[in-house]
């Protein structure tokens, strides 16, 4: 009988409890969902970063691109040695503009510069360039 006495209040209270439970469920899902979403986003960014880095520094076409360094100067001025994934190029008798072209090109190639040695001899330059990829 005592329950019947307060049945209206009980109905309201039970539904209120249900609503509070639902609200709690939602807030838990929101916080855990946001955490998981942040983790997934971080993972996606990591993937993208690695893919981009690999694309730049492990470019399969870099060997061909390097060959263009040979064409920038007359063949008489360059000694070219490419073995596997390593290049040694020695340039002699370079003019200032040729040197500029070469250094600009080298700077734009995604290779690991092991050595870049430029020496001025009178009005010309010699350059030794070693790189790997």
């Amino acid at each position: 009988m005592s329950l019947k006495k307060y049945q209206n209040e009980l109905i309201a209270l039970l539904t209120l409890l249900l609503m509070v439970t639902a609200l709690f469920y939602k807030s838990v899902q929101v916080s855990s969902g946001a955490k998981q979403a942040a983790e997934r986003e971080q993972l996606v960014n990591e993937f993208k970063e690695i893919v981009t880095l690999k694309r730049v520094w492990a470019d399969k076409k870099i060997s061909k691109k390097l060959d263009k360094l040979k064409e920038l100067t007359p063949a008489s001025k360059v000694k070219w040695s490419k073995k596997g994934k390593k290049l040694t190029a020695t340039y002699t008798g370079l003019s200032a503009s040729e040197l500029n072209k070469l250094t600009t090109k080298i700077m734009n190639l995604a290779v690991q510069i092991e050595l870049l040695d430029i020496q001025k001899n009178g009005s010309s330059y010699t350059m030794e360039f070693k790189c790997k990829w």
Binding site: N8, L14, L18, F47, V51
Partner: protein, 310 residues
Amino acid sequence: MNFMGSNKELLLIHAGMKRVFLSHSINVMLTPQYYTLKKEELPVKYLYQAKKIAPSLFDGLLEEVGSYEYLVYKEGEKWVFIAYNPGQIRSLLLSKGINPEQVGKIFFAQQAVEHFKAPVLLGENEALVTLDNTVVVVPQAALDEEVKPIRFTNNFTPKTGITLQGSYGSLLSMKQAIALASVFLLFAGMFFIEGARYAKGSTATIEELQELQEAYPSLQSKIQRESIADKYRSIDSKERRKREIIKSFSGLIFKGATLTSLLVNDKGVKAEFSCSDEKVAKHLMQLAKKEKFSKVKSIGSNTVQIEGVL
């Protein structure tokens, strides 16, 4: 078998009855003294339509004290409307020694009209009889002596009855409770649905991640991913630094300052500049210091040596 759960003792409440003392819960049936009856043939099909027009049918017929509620049902072709005052019924029950809490269902005599085949005596002076298919109270003196009265029993219990909602000191009426419950349920539903949607997560990110994992299976392992990332990050930062330094050296070449040597390797960078005079050399040194090279020194009068680390 009574599936309506009204198998409790049925007590007929009338004006002349004495106070009772109850230790158990009961159902009660009220005599016509405590309700107002109307029977109408109306062009309505559904109960809810009939219930809607119930208050207008009793306009001017009811006392203006207290609020009335209505029981509506169909009897043959006619709609039966019973208007009752819950406050009045509560007072009546209390006056007869019945606590409203002890009452399960309340019925009206008219609901059991088919059982009043003979008079049911109400105390010593009155009786309940059926006239024109309506249960009414008449003086016992008016009864036909040849007709034997019948006893009022639990068999008179109709299928449906009313309850005095919120009549037990309740703070909320049934209507208020239902309204509140509806609002709470609505919000609960909304919160559950929203929660479920958050639980699923953003499908766009999940799909993108799946695509990346399928395209680059070697990167699925965290250890492998970190190892590859470390390798290329290190190369990237070192090589970018080398190129930045070479670029900054080219910025140091101006009229009067000539680069005579430049050495770049994995350890660092070293450059020598030949200047036309001391003034140029000094200016070059100032510029080099601004570029924050680790060592800037003058060799001889017009030669400047600059060193930097990666």
